[in-house]
Subunit: 128 residues, 2 copies
DNA sequence: CCAATTAAAGATATTATAAGTCTATTATAT
DNA sequence: ATATAATAGACTTATAATATCTTTAATTGG
């Protein structure tokens, strides 16, 4: 019952990027690495997943870096969680007697709640 | 972002116990072990935590076993989660710039939601 | 008291996953 | 051509969950 550090890093990196002129500039991982105190290689690996998920873009080479997409305001915290950790099930039924099961149903309901809360939190809300 | 198998086992064991005459009988871990297909030693270790948390009682020796407390109907799923995994934070801020932080606030809100959903799910609801 | 039964405790082992590093490769600007 | 920067993949390390094994303590019934 815990989110990964990678998700934590990603959210912080994004917030940092937003504060640094939103989607208008490219920011090299070096900058982010210093700001968050996380190694460039690891952070780069994390951010690559956000690139793959299309919430930021990247350009290699000199003057390259990461840049937010124009629609960043609408990206939700849940989007980032999924981009990093994949779709997670809060509760992995070790037995699985089918969907009529009340334990599963209860856990599913809790999970749906959690997910919808996170879907309603947009990156914009983290930075106002 | 996942609950432990131990919690899964505990919930299933409790549901099994409820179905077997509620709080009127003592059930040895052997029975539960067979029902859930989990080793007696591990299941015993898990249930010991539920005993410590006072949601069931145990008696050693012949004719011993685990028995639900009379108030079992009011025990929530969250109570069991805490008994097994302890109080968990869904999101461990790697940086922690204080409580005014929006990332933390967003995650906390999601967490509160999740917890309150689980608090509202009573064991009784799992067995009706 | 004795034998059988059952939970608890503690040490240890196993497995799984996350976190992190390192090196090589590819892409870009000047 | 050179410096810069992301990507990929192999690899290591750290951490926690899962599980087993063995010993001890408690309880029953003869
Ligand atoms: S939770 Fe319900 S369905 Fe899943 S194993 Fe337990 S009883 Fe079966
Ligand atoms: S989440 Fe907010 S408080 Fe926590 S580290 Fe990031 S900026 Fe600081």
């Amino acid at each position: 019952m815990k989110f990964s550090k990678a998700t934590d890093y990603a959210l912080h990196a994004l917030v940092y990027m937003i504060h640094r002129d939103g989607d208008t500039v490219k920011i090299p991982v070096q900058d982010l690495s210093v700001a968050l105190n996380v190694s460039t290689t690891y952070l780069s690996k994390v951010l690559t997943r956000i690139v793959k998920a299309n919430y930021i873009t990247s350009t290699s080479g000199a003057k390259g870096g990461y840049r937010l997409q124009q629609n960043w305001e609408n990206v939700s915290v849940y989007d980032i969680v999924v981009a990093i950790d994949g779709v997670q099930t809060l509760f992995e039924d070790s037995f699985d007697h089918g969907s009529e099961c009340r334990i599963q149903a209860a856990m599913m309901e809790a999970q749906e709640n959690l997910i919808s809360t996170l879907k309603n939190k947009k990156l914009k809300d983290l930075t106002v």
